[in-house]
């Protein structure tokens, strides 16, 4: 079975307040069942996620952000070395770089959707502000993902 042309990959911990933005975004998007779009989620990015990028035409990474302007920002990202790697987290740029090293090819065009979060306490629900940011991000993504020719936000 060939991979869906568009991959949307969100990450975060559903039990830590606004860190749930990534998984909640994926949950809501998956419910829309957009044709040609595959949704994946995990606690954090890791090296094997480079394999999930294979065969894609476009990729959208989604994470909560402490620093993005509210409600969200979208930026194209390129492969980059990541000297900050630990076993517990990996940057999206480094995942693209691993893809290139493994496949000897450029990774698919990739964007990073950074949704502004405010509170990250254990056991807390999504904050009201983050909930509004999530709705805005979903509204944007729905349009972007259904426009097959879209290459930039």
């Amino acid at each position: 079975m060939s991979a869906a042309p568009v991959l949307v990959f969100g990450w975060g911990n559903p039990s830590r307040g606004d860190d749930a933005l990534g998984p909640l975004f994926i949950e809501a998007l998956e419910a829309l069942a957009l044709p040609g779009v595959e949704c994946l989620t995990d606690f954090q990015l890791q090296v094997e996620h480079a394999l999930d990028l294979q065969g894609r035409q476009r990729v959208l990474f989604v994470d909560a952000s402490l620093t993005a302007p509210a409600p969200f920002s979208v930026d194209p990202i390129a492969a980059d070395k990541d000297p900050t790697f630990t076993t517990h987290a990996m940057s999206p740029q480094a995942v693209l770089h691993v893809y290139g090293e493994l496949n000897g090819a450029e990774p698919p065009p990739t964007w990073l959707l950074a949704i502004r979060g405010e509170k990250y306490e254990l056991g807390e629900p999504l904050s009201a502000a983050a909930s509004d940011h999530l709705a805005a991000a979903l509204s944007w993504a729905r349009e972007w993902l259904t426009n097959e020719g879209a290459t930039a936000p």
């Binding site: 995990d42 090296v47 094997e48 000297p83 790697f85 987290a89």
Partner: protein
């Protein structure tokens, strides 16, 4: 009692260096070093925020939710928490023996977890230091650098981890937040198709794991002066072992040996862990310091994890891994190897054991069985212990008549290694930092010692925009003299 370099005599006269390997919204790790004007080291402490908040989070929840909830402790070893909680709640339900299918499915899940975690640790966290050197160009000292210089090594690491994740997905039912283990058993076995999909790659994983042992063994043997001495200190070892003394990651009883390999305790039922292990609180650390009660807090601290397990057991019940274990023991020369960098070699022997065990389980028809649950006489309290990738993991729960959790106590692997990690960092600081100017390469030596243990830093929160490493130099009054941080572009000074 205070250990050497744990507490300086006159901290008010010293400079303070803080290394923050990882800063998280919730948990974080930090090393503080106190130096005098000649850069002589007087005090070194590793601080890691612990999971006490999570224990409170669990209290008041129905017990059957716990095996799923605890997976949110850590994104790297959620299966270990999932299974330790399930084992504790088996005891609450009075289930003394799982059905053969349930036990084998849980073992398959757990050994998949060990395989993927060990592969990630070695190939993508430690190998950049080991293959390029601790003082090498920081821009190369990462997995991307490994992928560029050793593409086959990096690729095998990724595919080993991917295979482990697939084992977890098929046994736990989902890629993340699986529900496979439930109190009393499991809720699914493998279908023929799932079994076949895993089986076709299982032998390849054994061979690649064997290759990985060869890499680290060669590195260690090529430079024994460094590998045997870096951050090395003697200690006791603690782990669980099978009734016959075999290495077993899933189930067993407590065993501890002293620094010379003599038995301190053996075959202690872990339901009684609190009779043999106590946790000390120190005013300068959030994380407790466990020790073996009979030896006291000064002498009873211990190491857990691969280095302890491989030397605590009498044998490994798979042939290739046991052959490697014997070579490891022979290399140590008749007494236990205490080298911090020996963790990497032991870890790869364990990865080979995990790969062989997965292969054997996939050849066992019980994993397709349909008898998934056992029952027993209901109790109110249970302890579950498992050997997680980083070491022995304890989950202890009490449940009330309404099925709600009233008490939860977790001793995670990182807590068990708390004193040992502090010792490793002090040894490195004493040898490599004393009297020298601080450089990124020297500070990386500290991180190399920490990485060998790979402490879990309450890692499940990791939103974009955080700073992974920060070094702050302060004077005795706490005024910041210099601050250096490392971001995606490398090392940068902010002052």
């Amino acid at each position: 009692m205070s250990f050497e370099l744990e507490t300086a005599a006159h901290p008010e006269k010293l400079k303070r260096v803080a290394i923050e390997p990882v800063s998280r919204v919730e948990g974080h790790g930090k090393v503080t070093i106190l130096l005098d004007d000649n850069n002589k080291v007087h005090q070194v402490r590793l601080h890691i925020v612990e999971f006490r908040g999570f224990e409170r989070f669990i209290q008041g929840r129905p017990y059957w939710e716990v095996p799923v909830m605890v997976q949110r402790l850590c994104g790297i070893c959620p299966v270990s928490h999932h299974l330790a909680a399930s084992k504790a709640l088996d005891v609450v339900l009075g289930v003394k023996h799982l059905t053969p299918t349930a036990e084998k499915i849980r073992r398959l899940m757990h050994y998949g977890q060990m395989l993927q975690s060990h592969a990630l640790h070695f190939f993508h966290l430690s190998s950049p230091d080991l293959l390029f050197g601790f003082d090498s160009d920081v821009a190369k000292r990462n997995i991307v650098g490994v992928a560029a210089a050793y593409p086959e090594v990096a690729k095998k690491g990724i595919l080993l981890r991917k295979f482990g994740q697939e084992v977890i997905r098929h046994t736990a039912g989902k890629r993340v937040h699986g529900t496979g283990a439930i109190p009393g058993g499991v809720n699914k076995s493998l279908s023929k198709e799932e079994r076949a999909e895993l089986h076709k790659d299982a032998y390849q994983m054994v061979m690649w794991s064997r290759d990985a042992v060869a890499i680290i063994k060669k590195l260690h043997m090529q430079n024994p002066a460094l590998y045997n001495s870096f951050g090395t200190f003697k200690s006791n070892f603690l782990s669980i072992v099978a009734p016959d003394g075999a290495l077993d990651f899933y189930h067993g009883a407590l065993r501890a040996r002293d620094a010379e390999g003599k038995m301190i305790l053996d075959q202690v039922d872990y339901q009684d862990y609190d009779k043999v292990i106590e946790e000390e609180v120190k005013p300068w650390s959030y994380m407790k310091f466990p020790f073996i009660k009979s030896l006291g807090k000064d002498d009873g601290w211990y190491k857990v994890g691969p280095l302890a397990r491989v030397q605590n057991c009498d044998y490994i019940p798979t042939p290739l891994a046991d052959a490697e274990r014997r070579e490891f023991v022979d290399f140590a020369g008749g007494s236990p190897l205490h080298a911090t960098l020996g963790y990497h070699w032991a870890r790869m022997i364990e990865m080979l054991f995990a790969a062989e065990t997965i292969k054997d389980l996939l050849n066992d028809d019980d994993i397709e069985g349909d008898n998934l649950m056992a029952t027993g006489e209901r109790g109110r309290e249970g302890v579950g212990v498992i050997e997680a990738p980083r070491g022995t993991l304890f989950h202890h729960y009490r449940i009330d008549e309404d099925d709600l959790v009233t008490m939860a106590n977790l001793i995670v692997s990182t807590t068990n290694n708390n004193h040992a990690m502090n010792m490793a960092v002090r040894e490195v600081a004493k040898k490599y930092l004393d009297g020298k100017e601080l450089t990124e390469g020297l500070l990386n030596h500290i991180e190399v010692a920490i990485r060998a243990y790979d402490p879990c830093l309450s890692c499940a929160t990791h939103a974009l925009g955080q700073m992974p490493l920060e070094v702050t130099l302060e004077d005795c009054e706490g005024k910041v003299i210099d601050r250096v941080y490392r971001d995606a572009h490398g090392l940068q000074s902010t002052l």
